[in-house]
Amino acid sequence: MGARISQKIAKTLIWTIALTVIIILMAIIVFILYNGLRVINWTFLTEIPREMGQQGGILSPIIGTLTVTVLAVVIAMPFGIGTAFYLAEYTRGGAVTRIIRFCTESLAGIPSIVYGLFGLIFFVTTLGLGWSILSGGLTVAIMILPTIIRTSEEAIRSVPNIYREVSFTLGATKWQTIRKAVTPSAVRGIANGIILSIGRCVAETAAVMLTAGTVLTMPESIFSSSRTMALHFYLLAMEGTAMDKAFGTSAVLIILIFFINVVANALVNRFVSKGH
């Protein structure tokens, strides 16, 4: 009899714990969207902040987030994907590749504040790039590089080896095999890895705080400093002087990240459902 009772207890316990926790988690999003959506209007999205962000909109932080993210992805993508192809296709998985893979694994785990510290000293001061979108972009690029390498390499490795053999038997060279036989089935996995990295760039605060800087004015070029949305939200939330703008900024962030997930899922689902 004991088993049946423990089954009932366990089931109700799991139901209650899981439901309450997931509801609480979703309540966070609802709470922020509820308070934030009221603030979002055309001027909020098209005006630059004034009075330390207490007035005006969040146009320059939006531009800051987009430019830092695009710059980071544009820099990290070729190197990340190139390395992944090199590791997956051109090396024999010897000691060297294992070491490289372990390093990328650990570097992917390093806290972003350490990247921020490195970026501050290396890019901002030593290379003299100053607080700028370029410094922020470079720092975030190095931060997402290990992740892009790892996800891309997994995607390339998941391509069945028989495709490569078929391509070779049809007289293709290695480069043609990579381009025509491997890439088509690996591209979805690679793109998914990149889109998740974009999500991480958008949500980043520690690594951009003292590399991209905290300036609220409109950046003229990648050499001018600009505060990203996530950082703007953090500073407003800490100051506590402009709560409505803080809610608005976080609501915009959540919506942006939601769209990033939608695009990532659209890619993965077609990939997973076919392979699953």
Partner: protein, 287 residues
């Protein structure tokens, strides 16, 4: 012409790989070079020192290590059981409609910036602790709650997948033996999915250890060694976050040394994860 393109592609991939490895090496070497002197000079005193006061040249980060460990352990104690419970719920109990709503929500929760959790904590968790449990509310408990919330989406989604991908024969076999659903989960499915769950937990812990901005909001950042869960504390990451703007000379090197210790903690987490997941097969004992 064809083998020119052949050689070129090989070279291009090689150079891209070398650049990436160079970049990753530069950051690792830079951190080691900047941080090593402090560890060298202060040696054990750096890790065991209890007073951190850069103004007076005292660089003991034991309070920060204790802070990081306390907050991360607190987050694990709260987050891991609840995370696994939610994962089991999503994999085994949740009706499909609920699953289709919760799964994208959980994925979104994994993506939103951690400062949103910090903000939510500042508004609700900190006042709640202060009103009901005493103190100012900025405490290890507040940090642990926030970090556990942040870990949950990662733990839930990855653990759920590692349960779902289990071959259905495991479950059918156990049920065929007359086991109840809960017994099947506890003694068959969870042990079998153990490696996936462990990986998820390690990933979640890694994010908790590495979190900075959200915990600066709720921990109070005092440099004393806390004597209770309700006291303010400063972690290794918040120490860097608060002081890196104005750190100079030896103070800056001490922050890099803190980075090295974080690097070591993450490596330990990674290695232990690989170790646990490697001897997976031994652990599959049908109770």
């Amino acid at each position: 012409m064809k083998n020119f393109k052949e050689k070129l592609s090989g070279r291009v991939f090689l150079t891209l790989a070398l650049f990436s490895i160079l970049a990753l090496a530069v950051i690792t070497i830079f951190i080691l070079v900047q941080g090593a002197p402090v560890i060298g000079k202060h040696g054990f005193a750096f890790i065991a020192g209890t007073s951190w006061s850069p103004g007076n040249g005292e660089f003991g980060i034991l309070p920060m290590i204790i802070g990081s460990v306390a907050v991360t352990l607190g987050a694990a104690v709260i987050g891991v059981p609840i995370g696994i419970c939610c994962a089991v719920f999503m994999a085994e109990f949740a009706p499909s409609l609920m699953r289709t709503i919760f799964r994208p929500a959980i994925q979104l929760l994994a993506g939103i910036p951690s400062v949103v959790y910090g903000f939510w904590g500042l508004l609700f968790v900190v006042p709640f602790i202060s009103n009901h449990l005493g103190g100012l509310g900025l405490s290890i408990l507040a940090g642990s709650v926030i970090l556990s919330l942040m870990m949950l989406p990662t733990i839930i989604s990855i653990s759920e997948v590692s349960i779902i991908v289990l071959p259905s024969t495991y479950k059918d076999g156990a049920l065929a033996l007359g086991m109840t659903h809960w017994q099947t989960i506890r003694s068959v499915q969870l042990p079998a999915a153990k490696s996936g769950i462990v990986a998820a937990v390690i990933l979640g812990l890694g994010r908790a250890v590495g979190e900075t901005m959200a915990v600066i909001m709720v921990l109070g950042n005092a440099t004393a060694i806390p004597s209770s869960v309700l006291e303010p504390v400063r972690t290794l990451t918040t120490n860097i976050g608060i002081e890196m703007g104005y750190a100079e000379g030896e103070h800056r090197q001490a922050l890099f040394a803190t980075g090295i210790i974080l690097f070591v903690i993450i490596m330990i987490l990674n290695i232990s994860a690989q170790y646990i997941t490697r001897n997976k097969s031994k652990s599959l004992k049908i109770k």
